[in-house]
Symmetry: C2
Subunit: 399 residues, 2 copies
């Protein structure tokens, strides 16, 4: 008997998050075991509220446009499932899934979402509910365990690298310029910020700081003054999570306890201005770093589609409590395979940058550069209408 | 007797500033009247310091790459020429120009640069120096008089429009999201910010504020609360020059007396957070809006090349004290011609948005949309190397 496949998006979006949905749709359409392809709006919240759409009823043009549409088209969520299976939430979720005759559930997200995946799958198993649960990895933070890298990371890197190159070009065109401080996302791991080390002088920032860096404010100011005296400008790239003496007691937290840390660049710019008397400009790369179609990496897009397709196939084949992971076979020529890993082993863990990816001197090692370089290759032919990038639009939502 | 053509870049760069240089180079190469094509480094400062390069010695590949290289490759300047022709500066400038046998001087810049153009041309005329001076327009602010629009403006609009669309997609994917405040450049005129009104719901910001807007903080907060209560998020786009009660007594000024105003979004975000208790994210589009090759408009690039070429041709033909202006013949089909206007009439003036470009209701009029739409059309095929956008590199500079 055929069953519906239901797809959920969760956590912070990426440029290629909807490419994974595309991959799952196209794979599912090949299998007679799948009666319908459904979307749960706002991740797990759609299951709690029975807020479900039939993706099969959307236009094929919009399905194709998913490949160039950033941000979760089904809506995202940061809802944290309770630990106790006695909680009312599980009953509500099950009722929605049974109502829509779901047999396959794919959840696209980061480590928090893999926790949700794991809880749901365990709940179903313990209650003899035949719904297969597969996790689809996604995060610009690249901090998921057991996968070589995460879909979304490479496109964010490509955006960050190219944008920082442009900023360096602009910043360095005055004889006496400013101190530019550019902030990237990354609370605990500096994967994204580290990518700018692929740039070579004069397009590389003068200083790069990761959360893993031992950041010393006084040395920072000393370095800035020296660089400015020599070149008439200075460019600094840093992760939002760089630790320095600032007041974080008052910052917002989400339901997983993560703080919103953005603003390091503005605080440092103020300190530079007051201490050294130099003109500054603080630039957060902000949402565009995870929501930019123009600098999407073709490799990343293709892999995002593949993990979606592999997840659908795995569920249809009866697998559950797994996440699709990317396994690197070789870097040159670049080759990967896809495998299933235990989703519990991924949940709530954070993969930071290995020590041998960082140089003993200032910067990233050749090993890191070999790791990252193949991931950002290839460009996408984006479709525009009158100069504005087209985006998929699902009729049932977002009006 | 053939003479050298010398090219200067000045003021804030744009994505297509080097396309105008490209146009001038390719035009000048066709004429035997031009002995050499020189570049003055950092605009007028290169003439003061005899810091001149021979562009003819650069690789042809780099000349071609000028078309996708943002930021002034010759370096820019904000130096203000003294009013008195008795000043030592004029002697130094003349000495450099005579030494290099210059007969044609092209200055690429905005209204401040046209003031420099006008002063130089007058000085040469009054002293019987046979150097033709032609201004090449450029500014993302679109505030130059006597030209339909300015090269650089459309590409900045295309970046801003597409980036705001992506931010709206991302911002609206949570049920309970944040208040997003996005800040564009524009001190006195809201040309750039106004462009986001080409977006349609749900990709359009909820509120758009130009410096021309009568901004009322209390109404702003009231509107934000209403929008947030209805949609669970709010997106605001505003110009850096939006006037509200903030302390600007302490801000930096450049030599033309312009203040650095960026930071309106952070201040407003703080006020929203404190007053309404909502989560906020402030995003300055910052330098990428004027230095982004990926979202360059093809129409803008072509026009930037043309104004450079027309400027070279005009100087060679003996014209001086003029600026090349773009004259619109029709919007649909889009057609322009190039003409010469008196550079003194452009200098130090600022063209703000005409009243009939703004709607009586909230937003921009159809007339404005007809004006802008053709300008952002067409995409550029950007050249990458291993995922990183290539940029022109002149051997003599930037090492």
């Amino acid at each position: 008997m055929s069953k519906a496949l239901i797809y959920l998006q969760s956590g912070g979006p990426t440029s290629v998050i909807n490419s994974s949905l595309y991959g799952a749709i196209r794979e599912a359409q090949k299998h007679k075991e799948v009666s319908k392809i459904l979307g749960s709006l706002h991740g797990i919240e759609g299951l709690l509220d029975d807020d479900i759409i039939d993706i099969g009823k959307e236009d094929d043009e919009d399905i194709e446009l998913l490949k160039q549409t950033p941000a979760a088209i089904l809506g995202s969520s940061r809802y944290k499932l309770p630990s106790s299976f006695e909680d009312e939430a599980y009953k509500k979720i099950l009722a929605t899934l049974v109502k829509h005759n779901c047999g396959y559930l794919l959840l696209n997200g980061g480590n928090d979402s893999m926790d949700t995946c794991s809880k749901l799958a365990t709940f179903f198993r313990e209650n003899n509910v035949d719904i297969k649960v597969i996790g689809v990895p996604k995060t610009i933070d690249n901090d998921l365990a057991l996968t070589d890298h995460c879909p979304g990371y490479a496109s964010a890197c490509k955006y960050v690298i190219n944008t920082v190159k442009s900023v360096c070009l602009d910043a360095r065109c005055y004889k006496k310029g400013k101190v530019y401080i550019i902030e990237m996302m990354g609370r605990n791991a500096g994967w994204l910020t580290a990518s700018v080390d692929l740039l070579k002088k004069p397009y590389r920032p003068d200083l790069i700081y990761l959360p893993e860096t031992n950041f010393d404010l006084l040395n920072f100011l000393k370095d800035i003054r020296e660089i400015y005296e020599q070149y008439g400008n200075a460019v600094v790239a840093l992760s939002e999570g760089v630790v320095f003496a600032r007041d974080v007691s008052n910052v917002s937290k989400d339901s997983f306890g993560h703080v919103q840390l953005d603003g390091a660049c503005e605080e440092l710019a103020k300190i530079v201005k007051r201490t050294l008397g130099l003109k500054t400009r603080a630039t957060q790369l902000s949402l565009p770093q995870r929501a930019n179609p123009q600098l999407m990496s073709k490799v990343d897009q293709e892999e995002a589609i593949e993990v979606g397709a592999h997840a659908a196939l795995a569920a249809i084949n009866g697998e559950s409590e797994k996440m699709v992971a990317i396994k690197r076979i070789s870097s040159s020529p670049y080759k990967v395979s896809y495998e299933l890993v235990d989703v519990k082993e991924v949940a709530n863990k954070e993969k930071t940058i290995p020590a041998d990816y960082m140089d003993s001197l200032f910067g990233m090692s050749d090993k890191f550069k070999e790791y990252l370089t193949p991931l950002i290759k290839g460009e996408i032919d984006i479709k525009y209408e009158d100069g504005i990038c087209k985006a998929a639009h699902f009729k049932k939502i977002r009006d």
